[in-house]
Each structure stands twice: as structure tokens, then as C-alpha cells.
């Protein structure tokens, strides 16, 4: 997917200046505080809001261009939009709501695919109800189903899972990954849950007060501690691409390889050499002066402290570069060396007498592995 958006738009006192461009396929997270303009941006892409200036491009299609007076009508944009408020049609049964878009799209999903969506969302029993007889989360699931069944060319999801419980989310998130990977569907995803974002997103755009604060690969963005206040204090971390090096079905583990380092994770179904993505949160990284023995943590990685920042609340953010070969690091010959982030208390830092350029060990409590990575 590539999305290029460069628009200005004023509503009341709010002025939006969105300017970002996302290359490469996958899921793009729109992240920002309440009222920052996320929904407005989605509306502009869907064509529901016509910006006052600028242009919007999705892949090779120019959707909007003020200068050239191009404005593709909403219904031709073939977007699957899950609105922040569900917007179900009150006079139609759940079934008719679900198939509203599907009926109107000549390119239909196969019947099994449709049934899979309905089962995944757990809405089979609701099909004959009217929307007024649904709970909040049920409405949200129907809205999601309606957009998915329409078999769109791009998915615009405005907080699609906010009213759902964790268990249900765990069932839906893999489906999004699947859409991205199998059907190559570009997805724009608004969410306040950094967990979801870290897990799903390939690209990330951070909006604040109508301005694009930062945009780029989720690998970079999640490590940027300057964005932490937006994301919530404990949730920065590192996302790394990795390769399945070998698997041990009996011991129920897989061994990954990233930047020459072996990482042990619970058994993964995918074949050897599959590219995956691992997410290591700052809060899940401990620092040890010596290689610890007899510890349940499976991954202990030699690292070098390359930055230490006092942050608020008596904590220190420590950046750790893979490897103990400090010379290479200093010479700048290892610019692509992965960097882990750890957040520890000042007290602990003082107790261990940590300092810059020290060679220490990163003890990683847990690693989240997120599905397949596509070629990039």
C-alpha cells in the first residue's frame, strides 16, 4: 500500500494539516490523543469530508486533488469504513446490515469466507435481531462485519475494538493480520491501545492537535521515547524483524535469529525461515551486570549501554545496543545494530552503578511474536 495525504482543512476552530506518506503494504496505525483529528483524516480518505486544500492518493489512484478538481465519489473508493459510532441501519436486521455492502459489490467474498467472518465475530446468533436490541460491543462487531463482508479495497478502522473484551480481541486481531498478509489489504487503524498498535501495525502516524507529529515504520516509532507521553508511560519498546532459524516441536520452542542473536520463543507453527516480527517492551527488559544463572527468562543478550536518560518519576530509560564490541559501536560501523530499550528505577541504576558504554546483559522476560512479516 502507499497512501499519500497532504491536506489542510478547517472545521470551526480546529485546523488539520495532515501531511504524511506511507510506502509499502500493511497496516498503518493512526495514533493520537482524543480530538487530535484522527477521525477527520479517515473521513477525508473515505471521501466523507472534502478537504479545503491538498491531495489524497491511495496506491496509484488519486482520490482527491484540489488543484486538479479531482474528487472520487465515496462509493467508488471502495473503502470498508468502521465508524467510531457503529452507524448500523436501524430498520434492517443484523443480517441485512451485514450484507448491505456485500450485495452492492460485484466482487464478492466466497460464502465460506463470509461465514468465517461471522463466526470470528461471534454474531451468528444475532442475525435476526434488530440493531436496537444489541449490546454496545455487539453493535461494534456488526459494524466491523458489515465493512469486512463488503470486500473493500482498503479498510478504515476507527477504534474498531474499543468496546470488546480481551478474549474477543484475541480472535479478531489475527484476522486483520491475515487480511494484510493473505489478501494484501491496506488497513488504516485508529486505536488508543499501544498493545494493538505494536502488534498489528507496520507503519505508524502520530497526530497531535491536527498536525502530523511523526510518521514512519512502527519499528522506529515505538522506540522513540519522545513519543512516550502520548503512548502511555510504560509502553515504549522495540519491534524487530526476525527469522525462524529452527524449531523444536517436542520442547515446544522455536529459535529465532535477529541481527546475529538467537532468541527463544514459544513454539511457532510457521516453517523455518519465515520472517516474523518480535516486540520487546521496555518494561519487559531487565539489566544484569553478570550473565544470570538459573533464571526463568529464556533470553539473555549481551548488550552495551549507549544512552541513559532520566525520565520523570524516578526512572531511567536505558538504550542498549546488541553486542559487546564497543569499538564497532563507537566507530559507527554498526549503524543498523538493533537497540533495546529498558526502563529501570533510578535506585536500581544507582545500585548497579550503571554507566554509559558499560557492557551488560539484557534479560528479556517475554517476547511477543506477531505473525508473518511480508517482504520488506
Amino acid at each position: 500500500m502507499s497512501i499519500t495525504i497532504n491536506v489542510s482543512h478547517n472545521i470551526g476552530k480546529f485546523s488539520l494539516d495532515a501531511d504524511f506518506s506511507i510506502a509499502g503494504p500493511g497496516i498503518t496505525a493512526l495514533f493520537g490523543p482524543s480530538g487530535s483529528g484522527k477521525t477527520t483524516i479517515i473521513n477525508i480518505i473515505a471521501g466523507l469530508t472534502r478537504p479545503q486544500r491538498g491531495h489524497v492518493q491511495l496506491n496509484e489512484h488519486v482520490l482527491f486533488d484540489h488543484a486538479r478538481s479531482i474528487n472520487v465519489p465515496v462509493r467508488k473508493r471502495r473503502v470498508g469504513y468502521v465508524f467510531q459510532d457503529a452507524r448500523l441501519f436501524p430498520h434492517l436486521s443484523v443480517r441485512d446490515n451485514l450484507y448491505y455492502g456485500a450485495k452492492r459489490n460485484p466482487v464478492k467474498l466466497s460464502a465460506p469466507d463470509q461465514q468465517e467472518i461471522i463466526d470470528m465475530l461471534g454474531i451468528r446468533e444475532l442475525l435476526d435481531r434488530l440493531p436496537s436490541n444489541l449490546s454496545g460491543g455487539e453493535k461494534q462487531r456488526i459494524a466491523l462485519g458489515r465493512a469486512l463482508l463488503a470486500n473493500p479495497d482498503v479498510l478504515l478502522l476507527d477504534e474498531p475494538l474499543s468496546a470488546l473484551d480481551q478474549a474477543r480481541k484475541e480472535e479478531i486481531l489475527p484476522y486483520f493480520e491475515n487480511l494484510r498478509d493473505q489478501r494484501k489489504l491496506p488497513i488504516l487503524y485508529v486505536s488508543h491501545a499501544i498493545d494493538e498498535v505494536a502488534r498489528l501495525a507496520d507503519q505508524m502516524v502520530v497526530i497531535e492537535n491536527g498536525q502530523t507529529l511523526a510518521s514512519g515504520s512502527v519499528f522506529d516509532m515505538l522506540g522513540r521515547t519522545d513519543l512516550a507521553p502520548l503512548a502511555g508511560q510504560f509502553d515504549t519498546g522495540t519491534v524487530l524483524p526476525a527469522r525462524i532459524a529452527s524449531r523444536d516441536p517436542k520442547a515446544q520452542v522455536s529459535f529465532l535469529e535477529t541481527a546475529g542473536q538467537r532468541i527463544v520463543v514459544p513454539y511457532l507453527g510457521q516453517p523455518v525461515n519465515t520472517q516474523v516480527r518480535i516486540h520487546i517492551r521496555a518494561r519487559d527488559v531487565l539489566i544484569s551486570r553478570t550473565p544470570p544463572e538459573g533464571l526463568s527468562a529464556n533470553n539473555i543478550i549481551p548488550v552495551t549501554i549507549i544512552r541513559m536518560t532520566e525520565s520523570t518519576e524516578n526512572t531511567v530509560d536505558v538504550s542498549l545496543a546488541f553486542g559487546h564490541d564497543t569499538d564497532a559501536l563507537h566507530a559507527g560501523t554498526a549503524p543498523d545494530r538493533p537497540i533495546l530499550h529498558a526502563r529501570i528505577t533510578s535506585w536500581s541504576s544507582g545500585r548497579l552503578n550503571l554507566g554509559l558504554h558499560q557492557k551488560v546483559f539484557a534479560v528479556i522476560k517475554s517476547v511477543t511474536v506477531n505473525g508473518n512479516l511480508r517482504d520488506h
Binding site: 466523507l48 462509493r75 469504513y81 452507524r87 441501519f89 448491505y100 436496537s132
Partner: protein
């Protein structure tokens, strides 16, 4: 119940036919007009709005007279209709239906428009994002969501048609069996000394008819509202 005289039955059936045809024919036009007024933004919008209200403001007698001028067989339009399609309004029940339809038109438009204006715009956006074009949206959203207003408008118009008098008597005269509807029959009775009893019988008939209609519509409305409760 006292049995009805043939003349009374005539008037009753005629009233039903005229009101029914008037409402049925005017309804689609009313829906379109209301849609244009509620959702459209075009230059002549206000003029259209005013024209729709005209039959309300002008006394029915004037409306009848204007109809005579417009649709009489000597008027260009009326003559053309008569010669080309053999449609003649004056002195025929179709003329009474035309008069009823025009006079009750504003009620239909008002009610439908009110319902249309209550439809949440977000639903249209949702439908549009799901690939529904304007006509599709009209049939899949606008119409069903405006049902309560359409029914309310149709009932009011039907009731008003049943009671319409001035425009009918002026336009198509008071011909028994052809244009003498219940109100005209009542009027005729009242104009005669001692005709009170006959008038009362006919009035009771009108009222009974209207009650039945109301009851039906109320039931229909209730079912619709049960579906759409939100």
C-alpha cells in the same frame, strides 16, 4: 345498525374511491417533493415550498376555480388531455380525485419532510461507503426510515380528502353517483330544511369510515415503530 339507503352507499363508495385514488396518486409525488425540499439544495427550493403550501392557504373554492381554469375542457391543458388521452376531469370523479389530491398534498409533503429531516446523516455516509449510490440510498434508507412520516402524511391526506368539499363542488359540481361524495351529500342535506337527520346519518358514516382508517393506520404505525425503535 340502521341500513343505508342506496344513495348513501353510493356516496360512501365514491368517497372511498376518490380519497383512495387521490392519496395513492399523490403519494409518490409527495415523497419526491418532500425529498427535494428536505435534502436538496437548489435555487427554486423556496418557490417549490411555497407552491406546495398554496392549496392550504387559498380557500378551497378558489382552488376549485383555479382547477376549472387549468383543467377545464376549454383550458389549453385540459383540452389537450381530453383530446389526446380522452381524460376529462370536469364533472367526473377523476376531477374530484384531482381536487382532493391537490388540496391534501401539503399535508403529505409536510409529514414526509419532517420524517426525512430526522434521518441521521451518518447513516447515509455509511451507506455511501458501502457502495450505495443516491437512488439506491433513497430506496434502501430514505424510504424505509421515513415510513412513519409517509404513513402519517397519507392518513392525514386521506382524512382531509374524505372531508374535502369546496374544491370538489366548485370544480366538478355535485353530481349524484359521479361526484357527490359524503361531504357533498351532507352539505346537500343540511341545505334543506329538515335535512338534519339525513345529514347526521351521513356524518356518522363519515366518522365511522375515518375511525376505521385511523385504526388501521395506527396498527400499521405501531408495527413499523416496533421495528425501528432505537
Amino acid at each position: 345498525m340502521i341500513s343505508l339507503t342506496p344513495a348513501e352507499i353510493d356516496a360512501l363508495l365514491l368517497s372511498l374511491r376518490i380519497s383512495g385514488v387521490a392519496v395513492a396518486c399523490a403519494l409518490p409525488i409527495a415523497v419526491l417533493t418532500a425529498t427535494a425540499l428536505a435534502l436538496g439544495r437548489f435555487p427554486g427550493r423556496f418557490i417549490l415550498d411555497a407552491i406546495v403550501h398554496l392549496p392550504l392557504i387559498l380557500p378551497p373554492v378558489v382552488m376549485g376555480y383555479l382547477l376549472l381554469i387549468g383543467f377545464g375542457t376549454r383550458a389549453p391543458l385540459g383540452a389537450w388531455l381530453y383530446e389526446t388521452f380522452d381524460i376529462r376531469f370536469v364533472f367526473s370523479w377523476t376531477g374530484a380525485a384531482l381536487a382532493s389530491a391537490i388540496v391534501s398534498f401539503p399535508f403529505q409533503v409536510r409529514a414526509i419532510r419532517l420524517s426525512l429531516e430526522n434521518i441521521n446523516h451518518g447513516l447515509y455516509q455509511a451507506a455511501e461507503s458501502l457502495g450505495a449510490g443516491p437512488i439506491d440510498r433513497f430506496f434502501s434508507l430514505t424510504l424505509p426510515l421515513a415510513w412513519p412520516g409517509i404513513i402519517a402524511g397519507a392518513i392525514t391526506a386521506f382524512a382531509a380528502s374524505l372531508g374535502e368539499f369546496g374544491a370538489i363542488i366548485t370544480f366538478v359540481s355535485n353530481v349524484p353517483g359521479e361526484t357527490r361524495t359524503l361531504p357533498l351529500a351532507i352539505y346537500t342535506a343540511i341545505q334543506t330544511p329538515g335535512g338534519e337527520l339525513a345529514a347526521a346519518r351521513l356524518a356518522a358514516l363519515s366518522i365511522g369510515l375515518a375511525f376505521a382508517g385511523l385504526m388501521l393506520s395506527e396498527l400499521a404505525m405501531r408495527r413499523i415503530r416496533k421495528r425501528a425503535a432505537s
